[in-house]
Symmetry: C2
Subunit: 335 residues, 2 copies
């Protein structure tokens, strides 16, 4: 059921099999599988994750390529609830390992917040990432285009960028290297630093050699209408016309709640085995939070893997169900 | 485009980036990704694979749980064709490694067959498996229920089996062990050998201890109507009432066309790395054909992984595209 601040107390004495932090593609897939394995789970979702912002989910098998990410999330939420999963809008602040259980402290509500603590045998970390965007004075101007033709994922949207004049928006010299992958799709690349850092002579030379202009002025605003970005206006009033954009400014990882646990990190992502199990045997990491490719299809499969591994653990530790005489169903042989 | 016996000659002088053997969930996902990476591919599909028979795809995120497998396949085929993939109904008979390319011989058409040979840099083996079913005199009687409440996959449909009287249909003593996993979902298990093999005293004892009746008579037919199986009629005319069934008779693997290559097998499945690459650097294996869990979600993610690995290979071996003066698009700075 959908828990609220008013009803969540009903679950505070319950030990879930699994608390899933994150109700994106990975978390919802895990919830569907766990409930179908007859295990109990709670999904804690803070809202507005990465797939919520996708205007078109162009590469996920089975869905029309114009399906918005939020439709996938809505369908998945409905699916998980129908199967008996619990779902709570809230922000996981801390996970404490209590030995046999985890205690997951959640902040619920922005005003007059409640701080319930839920208990579970396993935790699935599926809280993902959010892409950093250029910081302009008017952020609404950025949101008007981000997820439309101002893309954030080359694997997802390189196809839409193909042979267009593409602005590459970066916040570090390292991220400029994205240009030398992006050029698989288009050679018409202009790199924008928004004045955030100094570009080395070596990199300037490399860009020049490839014919990719470098713009290191501050960006005043994106130009365009109806979510169709057509270029950039710079601080000095000059305009660079563009057909598409790609933001490559890294991501914020929602992993702070895990920092008190002893886990094996690879940068901001978690190392896992082939079933998405981290170095902690009762903690799993999915999708963008684990080492690997950030794609909806991968997160969905990760949900399958983690749920299956947890089911195997719990099943193997349980007594087998026998068809005893005291069970109600009689053996159904008719002669 | 959809190739036919009449049009396929148009592609015989073409070297595809990838020939994908199998147009199920894995193969179609790979085709969508490859085309979006601007690579060329041909999907060779024999028809009527495992997901074609699924009446309800109950655990795939984003689709209503009552979506039939064939809807997923149809949507995926349409999606891949729209992106420019080639698609051919045919049966891959042999893959020969020619060094830089593979030669894939396909049988097209059951009558007056054509045997075209397609060439590609890479091959993705996504031809999957098909479940063995009990062999009765009237196979239509089996098909009437298989994929409905006569299930073939416990991970997929254990939830529907929960607490029902379930017939477990096996063809070897090893497969009887499925009962001791199935009992997570229901204790009301009756095991049917269809008279195919002798059951050891040890196994009889174990079944007895769990209270699971063993029926080693030949099955005459399944009973029921409207695809709802209600029991089994045995050779002696007696009837065993059931609510559900699970067939655990192993699978046929569509992998014969790969047997001439030097690959690392694990039984009938291929060993792969984390990107689905087999021991042959230009051959990838997906879904049910590789070691792992047989689920639609996994196959779809495998398609993503294999396509991405191939794209990386090909991209890294290509010259970078420069924004040269001889390209048509001018640098779009307006001051």
């Amino acid at each position: 059921m959908k828990l609220t601040k008013k009803t969540l107390h009903q679950r505070l004495n319950h030990t879930y099999d699994v608390v899933i932090v994150g109700g994106g593609a990975g978390g919802l897939s895990a919830a569907i599988y766990l409930q179908r394995y007859r295990l109990s789970c709670l999904v804690v979702e803070k809202g507005r994750g990465r797939s919520f912002w996708m205007q078109d989910l162009r590469n996920y098998l089975g869905l029309d390529p114009e399906t918005p990410g939020r439709d996938l999330l809505q369908q998945g939420q409905h699916h998980a609830l129908e199967l008996g999963a619990d779902y709570l809008m809230g922000f996981a602040e801390e996970v404490v390992d209590e030995g046999d259980t985890f205690a997951v402290r959640v902040k619920v509500g922005k005003k007059d917040s409640a701080y319930p603590v839920f208990r579970s045998k396993y935790v699935i970390a599926a809280s993902g990432i959010i892409d950093r965007l250029p910081e302009l004075d008017d952020m609404q101007n950025v949101y008007d285009y981000a997820g439309y033709n101002l893309h954030v994922c080359m694997i997802c949207d390189g196809y839409e960028i193909a042979d267009t004049r593409c602005g590459l928006f970066v916040n570090s010299e390292g991220n400029i290297n994205t240009a030398f992958v992006l050029n698989w799709f288009t050679p018409y690349i202009t790199v924008f630093t928004h004045g955030l850092f100094q570009v080395s002579d070596e990199m300037r030379h490399k860009l020049q050699e490839h014919g990719y202009p470098l713009v290191d002025q501050t960006i005043r605003r994106f130009l365009g209408e109806n979510h169709e970005m057509t270029g950039v206006e710079l601080a000095d009033g000059s305009v660079v016309k563009l057909d598409t954009g790609l933001v490559a400014m890294g991501s914020h990882y929602y992993n702070e709640y895990l920092k008190g646990l002893d886990l094996t990190w690879s940068g901001q992502t978690l190392e896992t085995d082939s079933m998405c199990r981290t170095s902690h045997p009762r903690l799993f990491a999915l999708g963008d939070l684990k080492v690997g490719i950030n794609q909806v299809s991968i997160a969905v499969a990760d949900g399958t893997l983690a749920a299956t591994a947890i089911w195997r653990d719990i099943r193997r530790a349980s007594s087998p169900r026998r068809w005893d005489a005291n069970l109600t169903k009689p053996i159904g042989v008719v002669t």
